[in-house]
């Protein structure tokens, strides 16, 4: 995109007009989506896609931008969900949006704590630290009934549902707009951060951490900021996953598989890009559906259904491997956007 040295801000007027038109069209489609899609699509595909995108975005700030490898995405989502549950249960006066923010802050603080080892270790060793978060919180939230208010199934659900300020967001449309609003807002914040000094510090650490320290980047602070911001977003994504998508959740909703899923999303979508999280989330939520549809139409009745399910998983895995070999920089690169050759993202800093 930038091989030809275009002057920074000198776009022709009509291209700006086209861009504005495109943005306006996109907003119109997003707002109208619930009326275009069936309830099934909203509940089962679009809402989870948006939430997974948000989670991917959160992890991408930490892993793709700041270069800190984490397998704790599920843990921080879990903290956000359980914190929201606790706040809604025990501080009923706190409206839902504020509860979500406070839950995000709690998740952020937890993320910051588990990020402290990153100032000493990196790569594989950092994975161990974030994995510790994963296992610790799975244990914690099961072990103490206080966290799920002692109910017999050890699950959490909001007794008052998704109502706030007299609005009822429990229906599919309400859940969609609530999720969309939060995702849009947090995407905007992330975008602001990464194009500012914070983002430059993160990328400097990712690209060359010794040099970053020597030229005056506050490496320690910037790494902890990355953990905190990433976990803040993941925490809110977790709360949405639990209450706007699933309705009721348990620790199994945020197990290690979830952490892997979020990591796959950003690897497939593109490390170190905002849009990568969306592409990756679309890939992991739509591909299984497409495979499902294909198999039902081609093989249904001929092959055992359980076997089909397993074959689908195998194909999904193979497709990911094939895709990563073909395009290690993810969908964001494949779709012809951003970054020239020779600057590929590495998952493991050398």
């Amino acid at each position: 995109m930038s091989e030809i040295n275009l002057p920074a801000a000198a776009e022709p007027v009509d291209s700006i007009g086209l861009k504005a038109l495109g943005v306006a069209a996109a907003i119109a489609v997003l707002l109208a989506a619930p009326f275009l899609a069936s309830e099934y699509w909203i509940n089962a595909i679009i809402v989870p896609f948006l939430i997974l995108s948000l989670a991917g975005l959160g992890l991408n700030l930490l892993t793709g931008y700041a270069g800190q490898l984490s397998l704790g995405a599920g843990a921080f989502m879990m903290v956000g969900a359980y914190a929201t549950f606790s706040l809604q249960l025990r501080v009923p006066d706190l409206p839902l949006p504020l509860a979500l923010i406070v839950a995000g802050l709690i998740a952020g603080a937890v993320g910051l704590f588990f990020g402290i080892p990153s100032t000493r270790i990196k790569g594989f060793y950092l994975i161990v630290s974030t994995l510790a978060a994963q296992f610790f919180f799975e244990w914690l939230f099961l072990k103490f009934p206080w966290f799920y208010n002692g109910n017999s199934s050890a699950t959490i659900a909001l007794s008052r549902g998704l109502s706030f300020f007299g609005l009822d967001a429990n229906g599919p449309h309400g859940r969609y707009y609530l999720t969309l609003g939060i995702v849009a807002l947090l995407t905007l914040f992330s975008f602001n951060l990464i194009r500012g000094q914070t983002g430059r510090n993160w990328m400097a650490i990712r690209d060359m951490d010794t040099a970053a320290a020597v030229i005056g980047v506050p490496v320690f602070r910037a790494k902890l900021q990355a953990f905190a911001v990433s976990s803040f977003i993941l925490g809110i994504a977790g709360a949405l996953w639990a209450f706007a998508y699933l309705g009721s959740a348990s620790v199994q909703s945020f197990g290690l598989t979830r952490s892997y899923q979020i990591l796959f999303i950003i690897i497939i979508g593109g490390l170190g890009t905002i849009r990568g999280a969306y592409f990756g989330a679309a890939f992991v939520s739509l591909l299984p559906l497409a495979l499902d549809w294909l198999f039902q139409h081609v093989f249904s009745g001929h092959v055992d259904a359980g076997l089909l399910q397993n074959i689908q998983k195998a194909i999904f895995g193979l497709l990911i491997i094939w895709f990563l070999i073909k395009e290690p920089e993810g969908l964001a690169r494949l779709l012809g956007l951003r970054r020239a050759q020779g600057t590929r993202r590495r998952l493991f800093p050398s």
Binding site: G196, Q197, V214, T343
Partner: protein, 264 residues
């Protein structure tokens, strides 16, 4: 300036070893304010290691550093930057995934005064700082004739251009002491002259004290006010370029007969 008297930098009896192998032994020298001091010596003489001690990448075994009158047993990397020690690396240590402009602005990081919150909401203070940083970085890019590359991803540029970006990044925060590790390496004769001229200008116009490592003796003798010769981690000679050129030890150990003739 903190104090106007005394040298800018003093290295006192500094020793460094890697797993028992001595890299630097009992090295002492001074760098006066506003001078260009060149460190020369064969590969493995300990030149780069010394720079790494000066801005806190390596911890010396013994000895101390006196920078602007303050004594340090060891430097911390961030502390060194905060006190105004800028650094260019031997093999470019640029942030390869970022644009030229962002690389240079990253050098202003320690001057940043806005909070994460202000940046997330793009509050006025964040915006005005961002604009000020951009303007400052563009000014520095102009000095190196790099404006046209401002938005290019730095990893895609040729080596010589990257070297310039690195010096730009090192000086953007207005350091008082600039450490350059082979700033001319890998450049052609024209580029070398160009960069040498910029270094001389930075020294003259910004009153910048510069310590540089360079192998091109012809340029070193013209550019530097003061030359320190290292060999096997020891100081072999220390003085103005004219005396270094004629020092028989230096000729024997480093310059070699041909170089001496060429320089004479």
């Amino acid at each position: 300036m903190a104090t106007s008297a005394g040298p800018a930098l003093e290295v006192r009896n500094v020793s460094l070893s890697f797993k028992g192998v001595k890299a630097i032994s009992e090295l002492s020298f001074q760098v006066e304010r506003r001078e260009i001091c060149a460190l020369i010596g064969p590969n493995g003489a300990g030149k780069s290691s010394l720079l790494n001690i000066l801005n806190g990448v390596y911890i010396p075994d013994s000895g101390e550093i006196v920078f602007e009158g303050e004594h340090f047993r060891r430097m911390q990397a961030l502390e060194a930057a905060r006190r105004g020690i800028g650094r260019g690396f031997q093999n470019n240590a640029l942030f390869s995934g970022m644009s030229v402009l962002d690389n240079v602005i990253a050098g202003l990081s320690r001057k940043s005064r806005v909070t994460l919150f202000e940046e997330a909401f793009r509050l006025p203070r964040a915006l005005s700082q961002e604009n000020a940083f951009r303007a400052r970085a563009l000014d520095v890019l102009k000095l190196f004739d790099l404006e046209k590359h401002a938005e290019t991803v730095v990893g895609t540029l040729p080596y010589g251009v990257q070297k310039k970006v690195e010096i730009a990044r090192a000086i953007v925060a207005k350091p008082r002491l600039l450490l350059l590790d082979e700033p001319l390496a890998g450049m052609n004769a024209n580029e070398k002259q160009e960069i040498a001229a910029v270094i001389a200008r930075l020294n003259r116009e910004l009153d910048l004290t510069i310590v540089l490592i360079e192998h091109d003796i012809g340029i070193v003798l013209k550019l530097a006010h003061h030359v320190v010769v290292l060999d096997y981690g020891r100081k072999l000679a220390d003085g103005p370029p004219e005396t270094i050129r004629d020092n028989p030890d230096v000729i024997a150990a480093y310059l070699g007969a041909q170089h001496a003739e060429a320089a004479a």
